[in-house]
């Protein structure tokens, strides 16, 4: 009995010392791996002489990055990009060829080496794909694309599961189809546009005839100008506000519906239905149908 009592005492002291050791070790690991600007100065610098510049420059010592690029010289008209995890950036430029840059990265070297980027060209279509496609629920690394396109391109289709999609300096009038599950989407100078995201904000500049924008959780911000008749404008969000800036020539048959949020419009509207959650009417002659719906968020239509 006495021996058992002694054992408990010894174990107690041993565990106490172990817990103190774990505290010190975990604290030192946290400080080493996650430098915070606030604790760079005295007294932390004395206790942990870390090369902060070096630490900040590297995203993580364990992550592996493999960069690559491909040049496609033919004037293809359609671009398709399919990704699973990683960002897609597409930029318009004045050169007459495609430049596809990519960065494969992941926490383990063997995972990154397993990732491949496939560039296929068929008649008028250039297709960029990350391989292998989704194999398991656990993502093994990501591929980020930075693609430069000439002004011969007429349609762009970009698809990602996790990662943003950003289009910059686009030539005017390109038909765009952009989809991501988790990540924001931004595009400029688009023609007909179809955008969908589950969790992420969307911003766009639109000057076409058909617009279809939807997100579940995220706001929508957009600019519309030089709208062409013959199409329709559909914008919907479940949890997020929708703010649109349109030029003064807007001629639209509007239906604005917000379940729990305000609705406001800078344009003079000939109102046909006005309720707390719904505004229907015409702006100008009302050539283009515009439906905007959100469940939780405000709707604003402003003049550019």
């Amino acid at each position: 009995m006495r021996n058992k009592g002694n054992l408990i005492n010894y174990l107690g002291y041993l565990f106490g010392i172990l817990s103190l050791t774990i505290i010190i070790l975990s604290l030192s690991c946290i400080i080493r791996d996650r430098p915070v600007s606030r604790i760079r100065k005295f007294p932390f610098r004395m206790w942990a002489p870390i090369d902060w510049e070096e630490t900040l420059r590297k995203p993580s010592t364990e992550w592996t990055r493999i960069e690559g690029e491909e040049i496609i010289g033919e004037p293809y008209k359609n671009l398709e990009v399919k990704n699973i995890s990683g960002d897609i950036d597409i930029t318009g430029w004045k050169e007459d060829y495609f430049l596809i840059k990519y960065v494969k990265s992941g926490p383990a070297k063997e995972w990154v080496e397993e990732l491949r980027v496939q560039v296929n060209t068929t008649e008028n279509v250039i297709s960029v794909k990350r391989l292998p496609e989704l194999k398991s629920l656990i993502q093994r690394g990501s591929v980020s694309f930075d693609i430069f396109i000439p002004d011969t391109v007429k349609t762009i289709s970009a698809n990602s599961v996790s990662g943003h999609i950003i289009l910059n300096q686009m030539p005017a009038g390109i038909t765009q189809t952009l989809k991501t599950v988790s990540g924001r989407i931004k595009t400029d100078n688009s023609g007909n546009l179809q955008v969908s995201s589950v969790s992420g904000s969307i911003s766009f500049q639109f000057s076409g005839s058909t617009l279809n924008v939807s997100t579940i959780s995220g706001s929508i911000r957009g600019e519309m100008s030089d709208l062409k008749s013959g199409g329709s404008l559909e914008l919907s969000s479940v949890s997020g506000s929708i703010h649109i800036n349109a030029d003064e020539t807007l001629n639209s048959d509007i239906s604005l519906k917000s379940v729990s949020g305000s609705i406001s419009c800078d344009f003079p509207v000939t109102i046909s239905v006005k309720k707390r959650t719904l505004l229907e009417g015409k702006i100008g002659e009302g050539f283009i149908p515009m439906n905007i719906k959100t469940t939780s968020g405000s709707i604003k239509i402003r003049k550019l």
């Binding site: 408990i8 107690g12 565990f15 975990s26």
Partner: protein, 97 residues
């Protein structure tokens, strides 16, 4: 007899604290191992389980201090001493009167 009971209660409390600390530490280590495995299987980029190790570890260490180092209750003893001293002083004042 009352004194004996009091001492027994105190001893029981100390023993209970010690056993409960041992149990607490074993739970702490077990949960940390599970969290570290989950963290490293899903992604090794960020070791978030260290935060749990740090803050829970502080709690475990305080538990150790109270069970093994300040087992008699440091402040409680001080309070008892003060009560005894005050009682003596009040008694002395009464005797003088």
């Amino acid at each position: 007899m009352e004194d004996e009971n009091k001492r027994y209660e105190e001893a029981r409390k100390i023993a209970k604290n010690k056993v409960s600390f041992i149990r607490h530490f074993i739970t702490y280590i077990f949960v940390l191992i599970v969290l570290a495995v989950i963290n490293n299987v899903t992604s090794r980029a960020y070791q978030w389980w260290l935060w749990v190790a740090l803050f829970w570890g502080i709690g475990v260490f305080f538990n150790f201090l109270s069970a093994f180092i300040f087992k008699g209750g440091g402040l409680k003893k001080l309070e008892d001493d003060l009560i005894r001293r005050e009682m003596k002083r009040i008694g002395a004042e009464k005797d003088e009167k």
